[in-house]
Symmetry: C2
Amino acid sequence: MLYHDYPGQECSIASSLEIVGERWSLLIIRDIFRGRRRFDQIQKSLGIARNVLTARLNRMFDAGILEKKAYQSNPERYEYFLTQKGLDLWPVLMAFLGWGDKYCAPEEGVPRLIVHKECGGEIDDRRICMKCGKHLEVREAESIPGHVEHEQAPEASAASPAPQKSR
Amino acid sequence: MLYHDYPGQECSIASSLEIVGERWSLLIIRDIFRGRRRFDQIQKSLGIARNVLTARLNRMFDAGILEKKAYQSNPERYEYFLTQKGLDLWPVLMAFLGWGDKYCAPEEGVPRLIVHKECGGEIDDRRICMKCGKHLEVREAESIPGHVEHEQAPEASAASPAPQKSR
């Protein structure tokens, strides 16, 4: 637990990090943004231990970031969706994406591009379309392959852009 | 380690999180943004174990996010500063702040406000001044107490806004 020596002060960053402040939670959220909704898809994508994934999904469900819908019974299996609270983490992901693109991207170029669905323009680090100038919300953007040339993996289609469905 | 089954794909978020993807690192960066530059200041502010703080500071120094300057010798003691790479994490902190203000702030109001130094306008979640419309960079913004009424702690001055010095 954090040591709050100044009660009421500057807790919004800390409070957010209490919920999503470690790598797995944000990568799980990223995967769900990208359309990986099922436990096994996420588990395979991240290589995360199953018990850790279960714990993270449950925590984010309890925190109101995720909701789940059964897609199979006996045994019961769920797909995970982002609530509005979860969708509102898009700026956090975009901020990490921008920083990673600047400092961690391979020399060949950035792995993914986020573009404005309507006009295809690239999005800047304020989530503004650089082509038409629109201030974008999460559902107006999509992720497409970036400038990196690489061989298509057999299952790469699972990683193709999957816009968040309206619910 | 992450299991990269699609080499070259979508690694910028993951790469960022490899470096700063847990709570302590970002809270340490937040503290340095706020002018807490010394080990003991940060340690007291966060209540973090000293060995963990040492490890995080060293990792961020190695990653080029922090630089340090001795302010005392025998024993040698350092102050920590953000490099440009570190300053560029401001959008990440701002994104967490916005989300935390929306979903985790106490009923009395948000703990801190980020404002445009020049005109005093509040900043929106795209880091745009809501008063004058300027697209702000980190050095043009400052953190001031928010709408929460609370008793001033004896050492609260240590938590007052401290703009990042130019180096």
